[in-house]
Symmetry: C2
Subunit: 247 residues, 2 copies
């Protein structure tokens, strides 16, 4: 097991000062890197630990920030920030590119092997980086079946894996179908996993006692979605002992 | 790596003499067992090798037969056999139970840990075993989103994983939706993976030069579907060094 080191990184984006969490695997060699985008509520320890877990697997991993260091406890306040952002691909790309610059500036990063994963709003940002033509090795999203501006999905050149809960009222069947149609029309190498019975944010442990309609943790599917994401990274950016791509 | 031994097994079912392929892992201890159901065309070396691969992973594996030893090269002849079978849950269950009896009679099998996977018609048989109330640890199917008799899906007590190609004209969106609705209404722990761009039988290498409409191999998704099936088995029936379930 390698020794993971972590660092708080501060950088500007979207008119805010973002506070990300960078995790590095042991060693001194270059490694593939993963951007991890959080939910609209913001970056919290749960998503920071995903970065640590990926660093343990050998990746440089940045859990990036979308809210200028804030974590919204009030759903109304969260939606007031997230909904305009989700409607503005340019702002999402700005946030994504700023995170990308952070991992590219990290000497441990192999700049030719970067993937983006994300949850909810953070997943939408990962997809927008792909639609912006960024050279990513994989895009993985949970609860983020957002469609983009016409024609831009054709710029996605890496495998796309997307997971969603079957009972997620925020990502209903019509949105699943629209996402699938966009990916298919664009010739993207895509997959969609529908987790039966899961609600929105099924991947996240409950953070408070407030019951919000359509939101709920599904521990089994949460584990499966994480294994699926790790499998996607293993497929597209395998880490070998030396950190070099396998021949 | 364990040494796999294989055996041809002959047994009666559906008025035919079935010729299955049983693969056993090295050692003498009891192991979880997997039934592998083939496509409507029948059991061929490709599916027999899946049994061998699972035995290498430590499972007792039976690639079972559905056509009395025949492998149909003529699509018309295949459909003439498969379509009436797919319309008759009792016949499918008879074929499935006969295969189940073979693995249960194998001394290496841990009778409390049996899973059923299958492709096309063989996957429909795996699902029918679940709807018949058989105590399985997992059901995994590719290209087999068949629905059952009303109410019987509630007898399925194990996780169900199903994979399908997004462009499979034999398993269109309506059939995906009907399958999902049946599983969800029955309270089953289910997942559905839609492999983007894949046609029917995407998991199988081409067997002849005849181009059949709606059928096509997708090598990348074929590998992914196999990894997904292996992951399902690892989740529901992990094999430890001793063959005992982990504590």
């Amino acid at each position: 097991m390698t020794t993971v080191t972590t660092r708080t990184v501060t950088y500007p984006a979207d008119g805010l000062t973002m506070i990300g969490h960078l995790a590095l695997p042991g060693g001194a060699d270059r490694r593939p890197a993963v951007l991890i985008g959080p939910e609209g509520t913001g970056l919290n320890d749960f998503q920071r630990r995903r970065a640590d877990a990926l660093a343990e697997l050998g990746y440089v991993a940045l859990a990036f920030d979308i809210n200028g260091g804030r974590w919204f406890t009030d759903p109304e306040e969260m939606l007031a920030h997230a909904l305009p952002l989700l409607d503005d691909p340019d702002r999402m790309r700005d946030i994504g590119h700023a995170a990308l610059d952070v991992v590219r500036a990290e000497p441990r990063t192999d700049p030719d092997r970067i993937a983006a994963i994300g949850y909810g709003t953070g997943g939408a940002i990962a997809l927008e980086l792909g639609r912006d033509g960024v050279d990513l090795q994989a895009i993985g999203t949970v609860n983020a079946l957002t469609t983009g501006r016409p024609g831009e999905a054709a710029r996605i050149r890496c495998p796309v894996w997307a997971g969603v809960g079957s009972e997620d009222p925020i990502m209903p069947a019509e949105q699943r179908d629209a996402f699938a149609a966009e990916m298919q029309a664009a010739g993207v190498d895509w997959r969609l996993v529908v987790y039966g019975g899961a609600l929105h944010a099924f991947h996240h442990p409950p953070v408070d006692q407030a019951v919000r309609s359509g939101v709920g943790h599904h521990p089994e599917h949460a584990k499966r979605a994480w294994r699926d994401i790790v499998g996607l990274l293993a497929e597209c950016m395998p880490v070998t002992a030396s950190g070099e791509p396998p021949r």
